[in-house]
Subunit: 348 residues, 2 copies
């Protein structure tokens, strides 16, 4: 009962936010100034920017250039049988796991040749390849994190001044993404202000505001990883040892499927083409596909830690430790409460 009423609060927030903001997003003709970006972050709505901080790369980064510049460097490439890295997937005994991809080390030339061999049979046997290491593969705020792209990174600024000046700190990570329509990023949200700029192809975003968190059917899943069988060479889901923490993740496979998504959720569809950028505010849920061979770079900046943001995002995801009658937090009951909240919803 308690969770049901909490859910009613979340539903109210979600509807009220939509009534005030609709599905509107701003489109800007060029990059904002630092003051303008600070205002955009305060508003916290996605913005499609018809510009990029690296306009020359849209013509410079041909296959030939990338191959020539990368040479024999071994790049970490994510491989999955179905194009869904970091997603909830049925594993052994049909149990659901949060499954991370298998990582293969390939040269740029080999990787790009796998992306261009588009026959379904080829992909089914070898897997879907996606350069998506997400760990600051171009630049990282961790000094120990070496870039796998020592040559390519010289083409990409390590910082976007309009963001760093607005947010008061350099990016936490700068990531390179190369993939095609075979790869899909499952729906999730990040505690980062995100600038996503597309160099080639198109990124197709389905976005939901943080206030739709109650629709995301988040559950906690055991961790697993794809490994390649030494016998069959097939990718198989291998559960991690029990001391790997469980992962809280949305159980929704395709948020664009009306049969799967809650009818009261409020999607926004934005396609970002080469030479364009997306400001994706912290806490926004996103599901990302590609159209053709797509190359993008994103900048992650830490979200504001002072003030309200963390409280709101935790509330909106239902990550809320109930208060005991005396006002003291009771952390032991957190998981039960979360599950009850989500199960309440799922039962609808």
């Amino acid at each position: 009962m308690a969770e049901r009423e909490e859910l009613n609060v979340l539903r109210w927030i979600s509807q009220e936010y939509f009534d005030l903001n609709g599905s509107h997003y701003d489109t800007w003709k060029g990059l904002p100034t630092s003051l303008e970006f600070s205002q955009l972050v305060r508003i916290g709505r996605p913005v499609l920017i018809k510009g990029t901080p690296i306009p020359e790369m849209t013509s410079k980064w041909t296959d030939e250039y990338l191959v020539q510049r990368s040479g024999d460097n071994q790049l970490s490439i994510a491989v999955t049988p179905n194009g869904r890295a970091d997603a909830v997937t049925p594993g052994p005994n049909d149990n659901l796991y949060f499954v991370e991809p298998y990582t293969e080390k390939l040269t740029m030339e080999t990787f790009l040749s796998k992306l261009s061999s588009s026959g379904v049979d080829a992909k089914e046997s070898r897997g879907v390849y996606y350069l998506q290491s997400q760990n600051g593969n171009l630049y990282s705020s961790e000094p120990s994190q070496a870039s796998e792209f020592p040559v390519l990174r010289s083409d990409i600024p390590d910082d976007l001044p309009f963001c760093s000046e607005a947010l008061g700190s350099p990016p936490e990570a700068v990531n390179l993404w190369i993939g095609d329509e075979g790869s899909i990023t499952s729906i999730h949200s990040d505690p980062y202000e995100n600038i996503y700029t597309v160099i080639r192809g198109q990124k197709i975003f389905t976005l939901f505001p943080p206030t739709d968190g109650w629709c995301m059917k988040e559950h906690t899943y055991p961790h697993a990883q794809y490994t390649r069988s030494s016998v069959t060479n097939q990718l198989v889901i291998t559960p991690s040892s029990s001391d790997v923490p469980q992962i809280r993740w949305s159980s929704i496979i395709d948020p664009d499927d009306e049969a799967e998504m809650h009818p009261d959720a409020h999607p926004i569809h934005i396609t970002v083409s080469a030479g364009e950028s997306l400001y994706l505010p912290s806490g926004w849920w996103h599901y990302v596909r590609q159209s053709g061979l797509t190359i993008a770079v994103n900048y992650w900046y830490d979200m504001e830690s002072r003030g309200m943001p963390w409280v709101w995002l935790n509330l909106l995801r239902g990550i809320k430790e109930p208060l005991a009658a005396n006002g003291v937090q009771n952390s032991e009951s957190q998981c039960d409460s979360e599950e009850a909240l989500l199960d309440n919803y799922s039962a609808e």
Copy 2:
């Protein structure tokens, strides 16, 4: 039951916000730039600024200067028997009303002489005088609103560029406040970003974050106004006609009184002296006293209407229309629900 659980959500938000932010407030040595102010608004915490946009006024605005410049202009002065304008007060039949002050037209010279006649007897018979018209008495975004201070206003800028540039619009109102320790502003919150700069004396603020809204015991009160009896010359509370909308206001008289304030509320005390300014973020609850003859100017800027702010502030004040089971808002039950929520709390 529903409201009890909603209240538990509000309690959780309040505690979580405090755990993350404590009672900290920043102190700045001087005025922020527009970019810095935009960041401060995003954080949404009060800031004491050891500076003012009008430093020369702290020495220029002597009694003599004010009297000489204002001449015979008739100023609107609020008069109450107890120094509490715009406050919940017992009226006829001991019913509680939201009572606005009596307004007297006085010259600056007469007004200042009443402030300086500090004998209790004198005040009890004549009332407590406070220049606090709050309607943009210096500058207003309403073109029809004429200033009562055509001469003094030339000393005061009609805009603070660091605020207007950060917020993207000029101030909604600029107000002059002149009073003394006899006047108290009852606790309330405004949907404005507020820059409060002190020219003489001291403003003593007791602040609570928006997340403490559930502690404020807001109720809805009939409207009344002080009038001066033509027979006795005493100030008497006169209920307004029933078509004047009721006012939602905190029933707390003194939030610094531990017996009256909820023990889980999180006050912050900030004294702002002559030559200093306070950034008071939108939605923050404030109770304001003065030390000696105090002159201040404040700038009100509209709070951001896009994104989350209005949703959060309404949620935190318990102004929430419950959703019916089908997700459609049921506005008819709003008042009942509010009252139930507050009564639930009050019963604790």
